[in-house]
Symmetry: C2
Subunit: 338 residues, 2 copies
């Protein structure tokens, strides 16, 4: 291997809310030599997640924050270009938390998955066949427990997770209502992702739009937003409803927690449940989820959209762009060609 | 049977928040003659519940509101003094929703339970061996699912439900922390109900008091209050925590819902669950719960307190008194001697 330069996106400042372009900087340095047991991964696609806001935050979280000056933590998919491990061959396509950088020099144990589905685009391994699809699958089925003919409402319905949730709910025989932003995404919800109803959250009276779409109340609410969208949804729960707390995209900052209408009365009167979900708790069941998801993607039962930015230069502003709602589908950054 | 007068407590005005004495009036009228299938119950004890606030409210609830001019809905225990049903004999002691009145003329099917435990006071059938004990039993065990050595926090820890929750949690091997108001009730929590720690919610820094008492976080929170007490508790949840929403005693009015810190981030980071509980959903399992509770009361593993008011004249102000925190234990009104 020649000694290529490694471009890396470092966390320069600790954001209090949504990470901005100025919170990162791109630096170049030589790729390190692997030692015994290590591999060198040439990243092909870098993932961009709403959850990254939490990863760079000092507020209590499920993992330590990315250190200042450190490479931005990120899922990626890449090709192994050097290996000092018998457990991995040069040429394999692997996923892992290899960071926002061109090359990662890591222990072979850091491989999360070896990609064998060569009939499907490699990029899917970071989206519909990655944590987004797995999140939709386990959160909806395990926490939401939807039954046929129940009403399922999804916020960020056209997003990488939400679109998959809506389609899995449909596969399970549910009525699906998608909440999203703007006419383009509502059309996508109806025409591409098969929602029975799509609601623009910018509607004049969101609460009555939801009530009209859910005459028997909401049995499952898959919540990626929190905030005023959830306030309107929670007023329309059915008895025994399950609310899956998967993300809080509409909340600009949790430090301190913003105020909203207290939820206890909804939960009490409707004997409803709200439960937080973190995909990493399901790591030992990923293979089971991937078998189902891959089958559904192959058969066309699940469709997906990707929003692919070109070049590592687009990384610093990519998270803020998610929160501006500018992407349609899973946001990725292509840093090399397959 | 002579024709005694029936004193009845009627709902005179619809309260927007906590029902006050002026919202009720006491009227007298002759006891009606039972028709075929009916019994006449001479009430002995009338129950007073925090939930009565919901029963008289027009805000969405799990049952129709008590109509204006109607007898106040209430659980009671009484003696059958006349029967036109072969299914019930004069002299039986029965419970049911027989209302705040001296006499109830009802269909025999309205009997909820026939009291056979003559070794225990009849009043227990409305408290520790009634819906309070059953609420504690099913809400804690079914929704809370406490495991040995877990930390269980109870709000209104000295109350009719809370005191029972704390003791059942102790029976299950948990560490129990009770939150209550004032030195008298904290002492009762420690000395009578066996809590490991009792915290006065009027403490200067409730959040740090809770954190100090729960160094490993809170696994189960049995919430009877909502409001600022819950805000402080939720900041101290352990991963995988279960929050049982059983009552909202600290909230003066739900119309409109008061504002509080949004809870989604707590639930997400801790993968915690909040779930509303209503005892009526467990009606077919009451016998199972009563067997366990009766055994624990007989053995002394569960202790209870009762706050017995004398005479139906004390009914109108009795609910407001609950919310003033003036009772120690289950509040009842004695309207006749056994």
């Amino acid at each position: 291997m020649n000694k290529p330069l490694n471009r890396q996106v470092l966390l320069k400042a600790r954001p209090s809310g949504i990470p901005k372009a100025e919170d990162f900087e791109i630096v170049e340095s030589p790729v390190l030599e692997p030692i015994d047991g290590q591999i060198v991964v040439r990243n092909l696609f870098l993932s961009v997640e709403p959850a990254m806001r939490g990863w760079v935050s000092n507020v209590g979280n499920y993992s330590d924050p990315v250190p200042l000056g450190g490479v931005m933590r990120a899922f990626t998919v890449g090709r192994v270009v050097a290996s000092r491990s018998t457990a991995c061959a040069v040429g394999e396509i692997v996923t892992g938390m290899f960071g926002w950088q061109d090359y990662a020099v890591v222990d072979v144990s850091k491989i999360q998955r070896r990609i064998g589905e060569i009939d499907l685009p490699i990029s899917t391994s970071l989206g519909v066949l990655g944590l987004n699809g797995l999140t939709a699958y386990f959160a909806l089925l395990d926490i939401g427990q939807p039954r046929a003919n129940e009403t399922v409402v999804v916020s960020t319905a056209a997003g990488a997770v939400g679109s998959c949730v809506g389609q899995i709910a449909k596969i399970k025989g549910c009525r699906t209502i998608g909440i999203t932003g703007g006419p383009h995404k509502t059309a996508l919800c109806l025409n591409e992702f098969g929602y029975d109803v799509a609601i623009d959250y910018q509607a004049a009276n969101l609460e009555s739009e939801i009530a009209k779409a859910c005459p028997n109340g909401i049995d499952v609410y898959f919540d990626n937003t929190a905030g005023e969208i959830s306030d309107a949804v929670l007023k329309n729960l059915a008895v025994g409803a399950r609310v899956i707390i998967c993300g809080t995209a509409s909340i600009a900052s949790w430090s301190p927690a913003p105020l909203g209408p207290r939820v206890e009365r909804h939960l009490l009167v409707k004997r409803a449940r709200m439960q937080g979900f973190l995909i990493f708790d399901y790591a030992d069941r990923y293979p089971q989820g991937l078998i189902a998801l891959t089958e559904w993607v192959r058969s066309g039962a699940i469709r997906y959209r990707e929003d692919i930015l070109e070049g590592i230069e687009s990384a610093p502003d990519a998270i803020a762009g998610l929160y501006r709602g500018e992407n349609l589908g899973k946001r990725l950054i292509r840093v090399a060609s397959v």
